[in-house]
Symmetry: C2
Subunit: 214 residues, 2 copies
DNA sequence: ATAAATATGGTGCAAATGCAACAGACAAAA
DNA sequence: TTTTGTCTGTTGCATTTGCACCATATTTAT
């Protein structure tokens, strides 16, 4: 199996990866865009790593509204053992935004040192560590944005994160207006209204999906 | 140094821990309740583990409002390399709720395999992995709550998490009303108002800090 | 090219939330 | 005990947000 350059197996030779996979109860799958890739339900694999593609962790409320809980990119780790847990309140799923390649794993097997068969298991653990710390940093950012009390503050906080990451006050939004609203967990038309008002107040400039913080 | 039973060094003999500490650039500190323990600023230790006590990661907005970003308990890991990053928008600090004992560490040194001096370094990495995955699970829960759109839904989501954890529909709130509001990132009086209305609607019962989901 | 479907921007109105202020409860300190 | 300070519950009012529409732009399918 060829995993090319991905964070999970970086530094481990392909033939050694092959020997490790059974011991992790690993199974690789491909999904087309728009497909449901994973549900946070018991009986599902406890962990998964996105090898290729983009996907979103979304919750559909009984009211019909949707929330984007997390955006996944190659190298992202997710699963019932790691992040969300299904509440009775709504169902949480992972949906592919683009065609995706995923590796499902047994989380318990992954983190415990295994008997002998896997000489590179500890390299794997190091890699998972790097992936997990990135994840908690991203979730921390998410908490920062969502804990802002007004739509304007949520937008400003999110924009300043993007600006920080790109190192420029001008950046491209990775979302459509609808998805951005679901990501910030606010009403779409209220958000558009607020964006207009922020433009009028001279806080931002915006053309299409290109935003500049002023 | 005696770290008793804490997650970071579990499974590692005390004398071996002592030999590892310098290589992690570790320094232990004690703080009284109410004290500022850590700030998310450059120049600070990149990681820290709470050994004893309880603490809160809080942000103070320029508007004066406060947000509790995370609640830390013994075994929690935090720090600039791992979760929040200082935005221009407000300052993020860790404040002791009770007297605390903290271990500051160099995160980079901690996760990289070191030359030779530390035979148990890989056990340490395994332990950090467990701590980190718990952290991302907690942050995921936090995102679930904060992404609820109304105060009522935030409360219900948080209550059902507590109910889930205790395995009972009756549980004790770990917060005062003021802190709960800052944790849910909503106005305190609006929250109290909503709690009353939920009681009237027969959704919950409440006496002091004891809540029952109905 | 045309039609259909979907995304965006906008508005009035209702509902939810925030804010300020106050009184009583409770706890800590003198 | 009294005093002081903090927490809680409550209310009226201003502001924000959500919601239900609609019109137009943009994309996708036929």
């Amino acid at each position: 199996m060829n995993f090319e350059e991905n964070q999970l197996f970086s530094g481990i030779a392909p033939d050694q990866v092959d020997r490790m996979l059974p011991c992790l109860e690993a199974s690789r799958r491909d999904y087309p865009a728009g497909k449901l890739m994973y549900s946070y339900l018991s009986g599902q694999a406890s962990a998964a790593v996105l090898l290729e593609g983009k996907a979103s962790v979304v919750r559909y409320e009984s009211s019909g509204s949707r929330t984007i809980l997390e955006s996944l990119s190659p190298g992202s780790i997710f699963g019932a053992g790691l992040d969300f847990h299904t509440e009775i309140l709504g169902s949480v799923h992972v949906i592919c935004d683009t065609p995706c390649r995923v590796l499902f794993l047994n989380y318990e097997k992954m983190i415990r040192p295994c008997s002998s068969a896997c000489p590179r298991h500890l390299d794997l653990v190091q890699n998972i560590l790097a992936i997990l710390s990135r994840k908690s940093r991203l979730l921390g950012e998410r908490v920062e944005v969502l804990s802002q009390r007004s739509i304007r503050d949520k937008l400003l906080c999110y924009f300043s994160q993007l600006s920080c990451k790109t190192g420029s006050s001008t950046f491209l939004l990775p979302f459509s207006m609808m998805d951005l609203a679901d990501f910030l967990s606010v009403n779409r038309s209220a958000m558009v209204r607020e964006l207009r008002s922020m433009r009028e107040d001279g806080l931002i400039a915006m053309t299409k999906r290109e935003v500049t913080l002023l």
